[in-house]
Amino acid sequence: MKIFDKIKTDPYYKVWLKDAWPYVTGAILLSVFQIVSLASAGTPWGVSGTLADWGAWLYQLVGGSVDKWYYFASDAAQAKLAAGPLKDPGTFRNLGLIAGALFAALIASGFKFKKIKTWRQVAAAVLGGLLMGYGARIAFGCNIGALFSGIASMSLSGWVYAVFLFLGAIVGSKLLVKYFM
C-alpha cells in the first residue's frame, strides 16, 4: 500500500518508532515510569515476583494449594493470592510489558518467528530460566525488583545485588564462550 511506503521513508517514523532509542532515553523513561508505578500501585516495580504468583494461581486452578508453602506463608501473600490476578497490579504491569514489547517490534516491522538453531540452545534456555527463576525467588527479586527498585529505594541490598550480578555475568560469559562458540 502506498501509505506504508510513505511512512517507511518518513524521518520521524525512523527516529521514533523504527530505530532503537538511545540508552539514556530508555534509562530516563524507566526511571519516570517506575516512579509512576510506585505511586499508583503502592509497591516498587518488580517482574519475577508476579511470575511466582501466576504459578500459584495456575497451581490452584488445577486443584493445588500453596497455603502451606513457606514462600506464600505471610498474610500479605495469602491476601494477594485470595484477591486474584485481576486485583494484582503486578499482573497488569507484566501483561503491559509483553504487549508493549510486541507492539514496539510490530510497529518497527521487526517481528519475526525465529528458528531454533540447536537443541543445545533449548537446553541452555530452559536451564538458564530455571536458575534465574530460582535465584530471583531466593534473593527476593530479579534485576528489576531487587536491583533496579532496590537501588531506587536507597537500599544497600540493591548495590550488593549489583556486585554479584557483575560477578555472575563474568562467569556466565566464560561458560558461554566455552560451550556456545
Partner: protein, 76 residues
C-alpha cells in the same frame, strides 16, 4: 583480491553474534568484507557499534522483517 565472508548468526541471541563477528574478523585480511546475518535486535545495536568503534566501515541492511545484514569492511 579481497574476499567476502558470510556469518550466519540467525537465531543467536546476545552476545553470541558479537563474539562470533569478533572472531571471524580476526582471521580476515584488510579489505575483506564480513556479512553478519542477524535476527536479534540488540545485536543489531552492539555489532555495528563495536565495528565502528574499531574503525571499520559498517553498513546495515534490512533484509526482511526482523532480519538484518551487518556488512563490515575490515580497514585495519
Amino acid at each position: 583480491m579481497s574476499k567476502e565472508v558470510e556469518l550466519d548468526c540467525l537465531g543467536e541471541a546476545c552476545p553470541v553474534p558479537l563474539i562470533k563477528a569478533e572472531k571471524a574478523l580476526e582471521g580476515m585480511d584488510v579489505g575483506d568484507v564480513l556479512i553478519c546475518q542477524i535476527d536479534h535486535s540488540c545485536a543489531m545495536k552492539n555489532v555495528p557499534e563495536w565495528a565502528r568503534e574499531q574503525g571499520h566501515n559498517v553498513e546495515v541492511e534490512e533484509v526482511d522483517d526482523g532480519e538484518w545484514e551487518v556488512i563490515i569492511e575490515k580497514v585495519k
